[in-house]
Symmetry: C3
Subunit: 343 residues, 3 copies
């Protein structure tokens, strides 16, 4: 793939300055760009990189129009523009349409003619695979599951029976959609399984990271709305709902029936209690435990600053006596007041 | 599947009040139950839902016998009863017995006649698969591994060589049983691998969540006793033992050779040090780090309450000077005493 | 496999004392060793175990030469010696060389003659598999990926297109090498995907645990240097680099573009911010959050000691008022000073 700078501007907009016939073959960071590559700067503090770059061209915000003599495109959001140029120059490899001879597809599954089912993939009874969707090698799509159009399931993805995935979803290897939620009734010291008869419903334009697990609902469905982006190794328990366009970083866990709002961003290794509600637009910091509902958007944190080990140990041990310390301070305040009144 | 209320009472016990001929086709939460569905109430505070439900019938504790005029079954544990009704009405889909033509089974593996081996599954040399057990598509069961009767391995499960799983186990997709424990001997700045020659032994009635990993023992075995329930994305290191009927929520990690008692409940994202022992019946809270043995049952916690970010930062920074703060308080106490003795 | 003690000493060195003709069939912990097994003691406090062992022989440090009358080998590092004896006596089962008939290998993939490709494995176009390497059942190796010589990919491993793995790597089941990094540009409330066009490059002698995920770089590569050991369920984000011989315990997460030094050890469930650098030889404790660069080696910690739940709650609540507490102490100090100056 290659494109001239003028072609890029025609396709994606922006103001072109300089030689539009320059040929762009790839995107790259400015400091290592080759003479057929394009870079970008979105923040003023990185403009200095322009002095030494070998890039063919650069994408800049309008107020940096004079920061270089290189061929350039001016646009209010250089990072987004760069992403689109990259997507144009790096189209995902598409395996040929059709069912690989080493795949196993149930006779009553409905596979779009232009879908691609990889070697070793197994598609269950009554399942439906949408137009142009790619099911990677060794994926398993359960009975009566539905995968929309233009999806990409990388290798070794598992979608359990009856779960549904919207259009343009990307599911990464090892992710598991629709395993049973963790539900048991205690009975005389043992646990009896509560059948998990809900589904997982995933909207359009969702991306799910590697080895992320989204459990099916107990009675009702687990719901991931459109545009949600989930990183790797995230646990989404049964009956959770995640609002549209929320992004969640890796290693986070969300307990059962939590209701996460839209447009939230949740840092890595956050843990969110079950049966709580989180307002639209909330930000949760890395390593933060959310133990109750957050009715107002804001940024919430419970992560501690680290120290050198010996320093940390010396300080942390007092956590075990913080209540006594507070009592001691109260006591001091009282006694001091008495002394002051006497003097 | 459907059943009359009278049939349910005949099968599962309890006291039937009202029309036993009512037909029940599904379980549902009371607030959205349809006229052929049954709900339950286990706690008095939810009895108000009875006023507006469309459910055909309801399961209630004995002291709520007069809370509704609906057909009802009275039983001391409505949730458990509900679970059993749900299991009756929602039997897991069973693939047909036999070895799928797209499976690969070693000639000397012993597969029960009524077991089901899915498409793409690979069963190793000398492995044994018990009666009525279902091995899902693309599962891999290693050489000389043994899976008991009535187990359900969902798609894409991996069981390494020589590991053993008892009867009625449910293993969810992506879980890995028997990978090597993390054991290395340092040698001149590099690590030399310690062969992990133990196994994983899993008892009867165990459930293992999606993408949970249970490592094989270094010299002896990793042991998961009967009735243990493990949620998703849990790490169980080599030589750990987990006592019967312990339940562990998602994202928890248990380091090597830890010995967890029976009937424990461990919250999500807990971390448990290696080489420690935890008493039977212990409860560990979400996000809690257990650094030493717990010889007495109890509830243990180390999770911090979150705050709004700015508030949190202002407070948390003092963690780094807690020891100095304690010294300052001590100093104040001493000086105040001196002043008091003077006045 | 079996070996005489004399053969072991000839092969691995050390000073042999006692009957060299003793036959050793297995390694074992001293307390349960059988009469054809060998144990070891590396620390003086475990020498007492020698009194009651049934082991055929034992590996000891030189200063314990007289601690037993058993046949023994003296060596400065008994644990390492034991590891090597174990590796000799427990060679990994090697499947036969060649491509299993149920594997799917692209016509233009280059597979070493003595490599072994398991049932259900899928090898992409232009991929290369090195000499003596074993690709386990149902693994997927993407287009143009390269796996070096003498590697072992256990079942159900996924390596994405264009990623590279050095010699003698061990990849455990469920691990995912080369999924897309988590990169999106915000656009009017939605997220637009940044193509992840870098690769994952893994050096020689690396081990990757079960369900560990290593994302491909956004523009440049994610790099895992030689000798790195990664436990299970670890997240390595895009553009991370991990220096040679660093070992990382399970459930740890490393955010994008972090640069971890060589010879570091990182405890379980640690979380490391993105875009920071960690010095060679650094140690990070379990459950510790590293929020900024660590330019000097040392041990760093932010994990809290647990307490019984009620005690913990009583103390932890004060975290929310720590800043006020410090102000109160300051105030006390000031007032006390005033009083002292008066008295």
């Amino acid at each position: 793939m290659a494109s001239t700078l003028a072609d890029l501007a025609a396709r994606f907009g922006g103001e072109l300055l300089g030689d539009g016939k320059v040929v762009i073959r790839q995107v790259a960071p400015l400091e290592r760009a080759q003479p057929d590559e394009i870079g970008f700067v979105s923040q003023a503090r990185y403009l200095a990189q322009l002095a030494h770059t070998r890039a063919a061209a650069v994408i800049l915000p309008p107020d940096a129009r004079d920061a270089t003599g290189l061929p350039r495109i001016l646009t209010p959001n250089p990072y987004l523009y760069f992403a689109r140029v990259s997507a144009l120059l790096n189209p995902p490899a598409r395996p040929p349409a059709g069912i690989h001879p080493a795949a196993t597809v149930a006779p009553d599954a409905v596979i779009a003619d232009d879908a691609s089912i990889g070697a070793g993939a197994v598609i269950g009874s009554g399942a439906a695979i949408g137009a142009r969707t790619v099911i990677g090698p060794n994926c398993v799509v359960g009975d009566h599951a539905r995968i929309g159009a233009d999806c990409l399931l990388h290798a070794n993805v598992t979608v359990y029976h009856r779960c549904e995935v919207g259009a343009r979803a990307i599911l990464h290897s090892g992710c598991v959609i629709g395993a049973d939620g963790f539900g048991f009734a205690p009975n005389a010291g043992a646990w009896e399984k509560i059948p998990q008869i809900g589904r997982v419903l995933i909207g359009d334009d969702v991306e799910v990271g590697a080895c992320t697990t989204i459990d099916r609902g107990a009675l009702e469905d687990t719901v991931i709305e459109a545009g949600v982006k989930l990183d790797n190794l995230i646990q989404v328990a049964h009956n959770v709902s995640i609002g549209a366009h929320t992004a969640i970083a890796a290693c986070t866990g969300i307990a059962g029936s939590a209701k996460i709002g839209r447009h939230c961003t949740i840092g890595g290794a956050a843990m969110i209690f079950g049966h709580i509600e989180i307002a639209d637009g909330t930000r949760i910091s890395t390593n933060t435990l959310i133990t109750k509902s957050l009715p107002r958007a804001g940024t919430y944190t419970s992560a501690l600053p680290f120290s050198e080990h010996e320093v940390w140990q010396k300080n942390a041990v007092h956590m075990r006596n913080l209540d006594k310390l507070v009592t001691r301070v109260k006591d001091l305040e009282k006694k001091l007041k008495e002394l002051e009144s006497k003097s």
